[in-house]
């Protein structure tokens, strides 16, 4: 093992690390924002309302992320409408394609977590809120969503970790994220062990940080569930 090469290429890895974090943070942000309306609609009892969001969730969860990414990155160029429109400025670039695919993917998974959490809302809480005279928007904002977010938190931490792993796909479509950096170092110096293990260690550290953040969030938002002392 020769980690000399890795040290001389450390700036490349740090550049990759920055892109990985950026892609993860942005796709989580967009995905979460998208997942709230989708999750709420999917939890609706009416078949007319929940049909489309459930279809979206089913497709996103049922097909591999790499296929979704290729559909956007390679696939969209098939349509002249896309190529001639202003959208082409974005979809021409690997960066926006990756971000778009990742955001929709995590939106699907997050919406499903949210849907499950909303369906588990205790009926008594909803009844009490209605008895207090809340309309459905207030009910959603004050009662249903806050408790659904709390219930969904452990599953969501897993989803964020899976999304971190998913961002490695950006390296497949020419982007220089952590995996892309490892690929470049490997092809330049032919050191597969050193290059990919280094990337792996970076990913491992990121995973630990995510786990730590969610642990912190759980102690904060699940404080009322902790066993009482004394």
């Amino acid at each position: 093992m020769d980690f000399e090469v890795i040290f001389s290429n450390l700036p490349l890895y740090l550049e990759g690390l920055a892109l990985t974090i950026e892609l993860l943070a942005l796709s989580i942000l967009f995905g979460l924002a998208l997942s709230i309306p989708i999750g709420v609609a999917a939890a609706a009892k009416s078949g007319w309302v929940n049909f489309l969001p459930r279809g979206f969730i089913y497709f996103m969860r049922g097909t591999p992320l790499i296929v979704q990414m290729f559909l956007v990155y390679n696939g969209l160029a098939q349509f002249e409408v896309v190529r001639d429109s202003f959208l082409w400025v974005f979809f021409r670039q690997a960066y926006w394609c990756a971000l778009f695919a990742f955001s929709l993917n995590t939106a699907g998974y997050t919406a499903e977590i949210l849907r499950g959490a909303i369906r588990q809302t205790p009926a008594g809480e909803v009844e009490a809120a209605k008895a207090c005279g809340m309309n459905s928007i207030t009910l959603l904002r004050r009662i249903v969503l806050p408790s659904a977010f709390r219930r969904g938190l452990p599953a969501y931490s897993n989803e964020v970790i899976f999304m971190l792993h998913g961002t490695a796909l950006a390296g497949v479509i020419t982007l220089v994220d952590l995996f892309g950096a490892a690929k470049i170092v490997n092809s330049r110096h032919f050191v597969p062990f050193e290059s990919f293990i280094t990337a792996g260690v970076f990913y491992l550290c990121l995973t630990f940080i995510i786990v730590f953040i969610f642990k912190w969030a759980e102690t904060r938002w699940h404080a009322h569930l902790k066993p009482r002392g004394g």
Binding site: G62, I66, N74, G75, A168, G200, Y203, L204
Partner: protein, 228 residues
């Protein structure tokens, strides 16, 4: 559309390979999973540490990174080993690398599932087995294993569905599965979207078929349980 139909056999050939990779990895994952669960449940500090490190690595490192590491790194390792043993050149095919990596990754997830399932088997049943004078191996094979299947099935099903989707990654190391073939067909017909969409639907079909199979298994293994 007609071009999609022309290339359909080509894509379906890739689908067969996808299913082969998935089933073989599943076999490895189940064997590793049982071993990992047994190690986790045993009192020994060493085996608990090893399986703990195993799970952490799998949960912390992207499957794609592990796959390329095993594909490129495994090649060097086998070559060095071959040189010192005098075997000559041995080629690590993307198929072998893919199956081993996926089996290794999902072995960790299966291990967690099986561990939970074994813990869910009622102590009384196991004690009764011992009371009849069965040996530990007999108790495991005749009582614990069949009784844990019911508890393991939901987690097992989830792992399988995730595994099927992960097989798409082997196209990155050049294995000609259906994603790879869709890329080739899409490139030569200039209709990449149509082919990737077709592959997406084929994945949904595999999922749907697996779901009905899992449901059947669930009914079979819950036969003796009263449902509320």
């Amino acid at each position: 559309m007609s071009q999609v139909i022309d290339y359909l056999p080509f894509i379906l050939k890739g689908m067969v390979l996808t299913v082969e990779v998935a089933l073989l990895s599943l076999l490895i994952a189940v064997l590793l999973g049982i071993a990992a669960a047994a190690a986790r449940l045993s009192g020994s500090v060493i085996s608990r540490t090893v399986s703990g490190v195993y799970t952490t690595i799998i949960r912390g490192i992207p499957d794609l990174v592990l796959l390329t590491l095993i594909f490129f790194g495994g090649q060097i390792m086998v070559n060095n080993l071959g040189k010192s043993m005098g075997w000559g050149y041995i080629d690590i095919s993307p198929f072998i690398a893919g199956v081993l990596t996926l089996g290794f990754i999902f072995g960790a997830y299966m291990g967690e599932t099986f561990r939970g399932a074994i813990l869910a088997v009622s102590k009384g049943e196991i004690e009764a087995g011992y009371a009849y004078g069965m040996r530990p191996v007999q108790v495991f094979v005749r009582i614990t294993l069949p009784a844990m299947v019911r508890h393991a099935l939901p987690g097992f099903g989830n792992n399988w569905l995730v595994l099927v989707k992960s097989t798409a990654l082997v196209s990155v190391i050049g294995l000609q599965d259906m994603v790879f073939n869709a890329g080739a067909a899409g490139g030569s017909t200039r209709q990449p979207f149509s082919f990737y969409l077709l592959v997406a639907f084929l994945f949904l079909i595999i999922t749907a078929v697996s779901n009905s199979g899992l449901k059947w298994l669930d009914r079979r293994y819950s036969a003796g349980v009263r449902q509320g």
